[in-house]
């Protein structure tokens, strides 16, 4: 009798793993195909997709697609632009949103309840519904920069950065985190005469590592993967981000699939590596958006 139950348990365990692995295959195969294909000539790539060879590093493997891709498009420029826009936005977002959340949680000031609920209400507005009017605004907004006063934000870095610095979700994440910090700590600092700015910089922010990571990761994913907005506001090659740069490969009569796979690999694998290295933090970040 005992052996039967243990056999049953073994079988059940085996089935569980089989299901888990089958599901994993569904999630992995396109990405595996992408990476493997990036090393194959286009003709072999198309031929290989008829068999399991599509997912295996076999045949005529080389870096030719990568060299060709770099010749076809200024990939270095695109990557630089994406990193710059994403990096600057994330840093400014962390500063601006944590500062606002600090004011909302710790300081009493008139009007804060109303303002906070208005900001929170914007959570229901998808960016896609405001991009069209924002496009018109961006074409007419003034700016004072190195060249003095100018009108119009189209074809600049700032049009890709400034509108996305502050958002309700980031502020909300910081507010949720700050609420759980001990109020007595802040009050003690006030009794000792510390300024709000000092408390923010020296007390609260050093304690906020987890929420900073969460907000940074979510903003990073959103910014790096932006597509529609840069498509509308950036025409110049020199400031184009990676997702829009894809057009160099797909807007061809004969799509060079080998090069496409190389380009996709270049813009995706660093993010995947970053994710795999910090997967716990990534997943915890997404999980925390569900806390209400």
């Amino acid at each position: 009798m005992a052996t039967v139950t243990s056999d049953n348990r073994g079988l059940r365990l085996w089935t569980r793993y089989a299901v888990l692995i089958l599901v994993a295959v569904i999630f992995v195969f396109p990405l595996l195909f992408m990476v493997m294909s990036s090393f194959k000539p286009s003709t072999q790539l198309l031929l290989d997709s008829k068999s399991l060879r599509a997912f295996l590093p076999v045949g005529d493997l080389s870096l030719q697609n990568y060299t060709d891709a770099f010749i076809r498009a200024p990939i270095g420029v695109f990557v630089f632009n994406s990193v710059l826009v994403t990096g600057v936005t994330v840093v400014l977002c962390l500063f601006v949103c944590s500062l606002a959340a600090f004011a909302f949680v710790f300081i009493d000031w008139s009007g804060k309840a109303v303002i906070f609920s208005v900001l929170l209400a914007t959570l229901i507005i998808p960016y896609e519904t405001i991009f069209i009017p924002l496009l018109l605004m961006a074409s007419q907004l003034p700016w004072i920069g190195a060249d003095g006063f100018e009108l119009g934000w189209l074809n600049t870095y700032r049009v890709q950065i400034v509108p996305f610095i502050a958002d309700a979700l980031s502020i909300f994440l910081f507010v949720q985190f700050f609420k759980d910090l001990p109020k007595e700590l802040i009050e003690a600092c006030r009794v000792e005469g510390a300024s709000w700015w000092t408390i923010y910089r020296k007390v609260v922010m050093p304690l906020s590592g987890p929420v900073i990571a969460t907000a940074a990761i979510l903003k990073f994913l959103f910014m790096y993967n932006q597509f529609l907005w840069p498509l509308m506001v950036v025409q110049e090659e020199s400031i184009r981000p990676v997702m829009v740069g894809l057009g160099y490969f797909t807007d061809q009569l004969n799509v060079p699939w080998g090069e496409v796979m190389a380009y996709l690999t270049i813009i995706t694998v660093p993010v995947l590596a970053f994710y795999l290295a910090l997967q716990r933090v990534f997943i915890a970040s997404v999980a925390s958006t569900g806390v209400k």
């Binding site: 994993a24 069209i132 993967n225 997702m243």
Partner: protein
């Protein structure tokens, strides 16, 4: 209490100001501008000032008319038929183009029609492409939201087991979430290739050659479902993680109590897990609905709205007008319609999943 210590209008305003100002300028103002522009004839770059046009943009988009065509008859009143035996109808054009007797049909085009007896009833729309976009978007949300939420819950339950190495699977399932939807769309465009495409080949092996290749994105009946399947594949990991957080918030003592009472696995799910997930369910449905309504990159990369407008969606239409044709007012009107839909469906979901 310690009100004096924490009260400071100046510091509060100063510290909140950058965030509040940016959100006002770049989210709240454009939101209201969308409403304002939709009532004008605003263009992206125009020497003429915009004029107020009332609800013209909306009637240009949403205008509908139903019209019954009666067959052509000969002197005896018998129905005329063409050589193939099909009933002869007067041309719709005669009614929709400069016919003063039918002002309601002016400029409208046939959207769809059906036969009733000898008569043909035609539904006409001012903007047939927009109507298709509207229907496709709602269809997309209607299928994707529940299926993606349901699959995500299944995955979360699968991942919530105590098994060695379970974190590896969680990591893998979540992986497509960090990959850009643009990249995913292009990959799947290749996978969905007609003839010898990857998916056709895989289905061919699984059915031992019985499966005939399908042009997934090239057929009007498979294009939108193909895009739905891919969107779910990409997004499901995100909501799996949120379900998982909800699952792990449920106190284990409840399950122990259930065990003592002799509850079956299904009963435990039905009476402990599911009620514990109510708030999570509301949140997930609303988030997926919002994301699904905003569907754009998949269309832009994979089908550009085709074939025969079978994958036209609202955001794609809004961009085509507002950006492509520089018609800010028309694009804004579509944006407003989109927002009203998102809001309405979120409220309905909240109402349906309320505490009873």
């Amino acid at each position: 209490m310690a009100s004096k210590l924490t009260r400071s209008n100046r510091s509060g305003w100063l510290m909140a100001f950058p965030g509040v100002a940016l959100m006002t300028l770049f989210i709240i103002v454009p939101f209201f501008l969308a409403f304002a522009f939709s009532l004008t004839n605003q263009r992206l770059a125009s020497p003429n000032a915009a004029e107020y046009v009332g609800f013209e943009n909306y009637s240009d988009l949403l205008g509908l008319a139903v019209f019954t065509l009666e067959p052509e008859r000969d002197e005896d009143g018998a129905v005329l038929r063409d050589d193939d035996g099909e009933i002869d109808y007067p041309r719709l054009r005669n009614f929709t183009r400069n016919n003063p007797e039918y002002p309601g049909l002016q400029g409208k085009r046939e959207w769809f029609s059906w036969q009733s007896g000898d008569n043909r009833t035609v539904v006409l729309a001012s903007d047939v492409v927009f109507m298709k976009a509207l229907v496709n978007t709602i269809t997309f949300v209607f299928f994707v939201a529940p299926i993606q939420a349901g699959l995500a819950l299944c995955l979360a339950l699968l991942i919530n087991q105590r098994l060695r190495g379970i974190n590896v699977f969680r990591t893998v399932y979540f992986m497509p979430v960090v990959v850009s939807i643009v990249v995913v769309s292009l990959l799947w465009k290749f996978i969905y290739s007609p003839g010898d495409g990857l998916l056709n080949n895989v289905l061919g092996w699984l059915s031992f050659g019985a499966f005939n290749g399908i042009d997934w994105l090239g057929r009007t009946d498979t294009a939108l479902p193909s895009i739905m399947a891919m969107s779910i594949w990409q997004g499901v990991g995100f909501h799996m993680v949120i379900w998982l957080a909800g699952l792990q918030n449920i106190s284990p003592t409840l399950y122990e109590a259930g065990n003592i009472e002799g509850a079956s696995k299904w009963q435990a799910f039905r009476y402990i897990t599911w009620p514990g997930l109510r708030n999570t369910a509301v949140l997930i449905l609303i988030v997926i609905t919002m994301q699904a309504f905003a569907l754009y990159a998949q269309i832009a990369v994979m089908t550009k709205g085709g074939p025969l407008d079978s994958t036209q969606v609202l955001v794609f239409q809004a961009v085509e007008r507002g950006y492509g044709k520089q018609d800010i007012s028309g694009g804004s009107a579509i944006s407003v319609i989109l927002f009203v839909l998102v809001l309405a469906i979120s409220l309905v979901q909240r109402y349906l999943t309320r505490e009873k």
